[in-house]
Subunit: 316 residues, 3 copies
Amino acid sequence: MKNFTSVDDIQDLKGLVALAKAVKAAPYANQQLGKNKTLGLLFFNPSLRTRLSTQKAALNLGMHPIVMNLNTEGWTLEFEDGVVMDGAASEHIKEAAQVVSQYCDVIAIRSFPTLTDKEKDEEEYVISAFKKYASVPVISLEGSTEHPLQAVADALTIEEFKTKERPKVVLTWAPHPKALPHAVPNSFVKVMKKADVDFIITHPEGYELNPEFTAGVTITHNQDEAFKDADFIYAKNWSSYIDYGKITSKDPSWTVTPEKMALTDNGKFMHCLPVRRNMIVADAVLDSDSSIVIPQSNNRTWSAQAILTKILENAE
Amino acid sequence: MKNFTSVDDIQDLKGLVALAKAVKAAPYANQQLGKNKTLGLLFFNPSLRTRLSTQKAALNLGMHPIVMNLNTEGWTLEFEDGVVMDGAASEHIKEAAQVVSQYCDVIAIRSFPTLTDKEKDEEEYVISAFKKYASVPVISLEGSTEHPLQAVADALTIEEFKTKERPKVVLTWAPHPKALPHAVPNSFVKVMKKADVDFIITHPEGYELNPEFTAGVTITHNQDEAFKDADFIYAKNWSSYIDYGKITSKDPSWTVTPEKMALTDNGKFMHCLPVRRNMIVADAVLDSDSSIVIPQSNNRTWSAQAILTKILENAE
Amino acid sequence: MKNFTSVDDIQDLKGLVALAKAVKAAPYANQQLGKNKTLGLLFFNPSLRTRLSTQKAALNLGMHPIVMNLNTEGWTLEFEDGVVMDGAASEHIKEAAQVVSQYCDVIAIRSFPTLTDKEKDEEEYVISAFKKYASVPVISLEGSTEHPLQAVADALTIEEFKTKERPKVVLTWAPHPKALPHAVPNSFVKVMKKADVDFIITHPEGYELNPEFTAGVTITHNQDEAFKDADFIYAKNWSSYIDYGKITSKDPSWTVTPEKMALTDNGKFMHCLPVRRNMIVADAVLDSDSSIVIPQSNNRTWSAQAILTKILENAE
């Protein structure tokens, strides 16, 4: 594996999930692999789970994580080609990406979307530029359109908690006070399409995700119908894709409640976190045994460690 | 030891100080203890000594410290139960504390008081919430009412510098331009009550600390009287507790001067630092041989290392 | 070597460059040297290369780097002696430097100039204060008048890329939209005076560097003349020294272009980075084979590692 910035980079999901399970069972078994290697974690945006779990994964492999908040600790970057740099940006991504590649054996980047400039966001202009100019592997810590490390953790969690060979998995939109990115739902859709599950998406009208990603997936506007006999409910808010970055509904009837969970077949509740209580999901669901959000967050470490393992092994 | 968030968590002060001396004498003797373990240091507030010394202590034990500034690098946290999270807070402490517990073997937190909401401060609402929801041990890096790592360093320092079996120790209030917390004086009072010392507190009227903590301790408003024949002068400013968080005096006659130190029995000057020169204490005292603030700050490492040792040993 | 805060601290440039080459050839050969030692990296200003390369260098030597942004994560420092500290500053540099020395075996500091207070800048008041009060070695990560780690990397780069025994090296001013410090050109001038090169400086009138540093060096206002038959073109902007900190020219005719590079003897283009494209240098130069800015930035690691090696060896 050269880079890991999209679920599309996964050739063999089953194998990757098996690897994640293996590193979870023996986290410190491969510490020679990362010896004397550094992982640069570059953040343009806030992060809790990703920040900590990816450092933990690197440490487990014997790597040295080096964390940097690019906006506050570094220089403002220019991403356009051919410009006269007489403005706010001090450094071009061409140099920055090549330079960081001199000190870090792997570069990991978090860069959220603008939610105003659809074209720029869809180009993944930050992560794409790092991939273009870096001379070392690049990992997405959540870009503008995908959060693939989260998707691997999600697939592992479903694999661990499923009680049927082919479980029914529901991705449901839920209300939120702020406009949120599409990265998590996009990557979840992509990974579920690779998994051995019955997958269905439910959301209010106007909340269609990028049709390129959802092609072939059953979509319904009837949340109750979707929940029927489900094994996993994956709740997530996202802003409108059609009316790009806008909030077109905060309908509280989409909040996941115990009544709705009762429609499922003893379904498990999932969310990538952070989660807004009593907006996305009622306390009574999140505090019940049906919630698996904490083991799901734990799997972020093993997802990252599996990917780092793949990348370091190729690098050799 | 499960958590360490108050001097009350110390069962045996003499034993703990002896352990701190032992790790100071052989800092790297126990590096297997922390192998493959991470210490999460979560800061809501500025820190110099605590930030550096606790990292150093963790490294000495073979642990990996992971530092995070929660306010600027993470998500705004909600601490109230049952609320509809439609405001600024993105994540509930319930999830945050459980999630961090998935990546860190020990969690250490700095959270200063509001100095406006006495009830909230006295509940130690941040650290208490982490203790309630975390599944791993929690250490205070200074909370709203206590700074117990500082207190252990203080006890160690007095043990090292005392020239009498039962020295006289004075905690004196001193003036400061800003309203300061009570955490350091509270923890110092608590630890001195456990120590084999003659302990006396002196402050202007209206600067009484929480009477629950000072019960049984001699208190005088006559600073000169207090200093007489003292072996240790521990200076510190704090805001009013009765008139909560207010500055009711900046009386410069309370500044610790060479004249006042002359009243002592060759007394040593202590302060937790940072210290305002010529407000709390005159240059001539701080720059003299009687000042032991630098070795006192050095002991922060051994205090933290002793506590981490206790916690890691229990954890096994 | 006790401290490294100026090119003047280099006794034997040839030996130091040889050491840098040696650590580059075998980066992990000396990991016992830094075992159980911490390098404190204290930043008052932004940094990308220095931040990452110095951490990498420390890790290569088995040291633990501890990074801290003093402005945002610590306390405001007071540098004046004898003041009553009743203002914004919470801690005096006297204590801060001594305290950090308790936790870090080496202290490295970045502190940019004010560019308004020439006297203060020339005193290197921040780094000088750390040197005065710290009890451990101090390294400059770029001060107000020098950037010596950069200079060592520059000397190493010229050594590696030179094709003649005594190459011609040109330091040329180039335009920039903001007022920049003199630290990089000052240190480059100093190191070139120690190197076996033909050295010439070119800049517009009014951009004379501190004459104390440039004494004995050929200076011309004719950039074309300077470039003739040059082997290395080192471009850099700086603000006026005479009209201190002011921008007195943004003349675009000083931008380094392919036409100008054609005057050289197949000259190599150097810059410390970050570089403003199409202000300092045209894309066509920076994207050509004549640019060696990326290997130059790579040498920052080996420069730092050589200096840390020198310091740790003396420390023992």
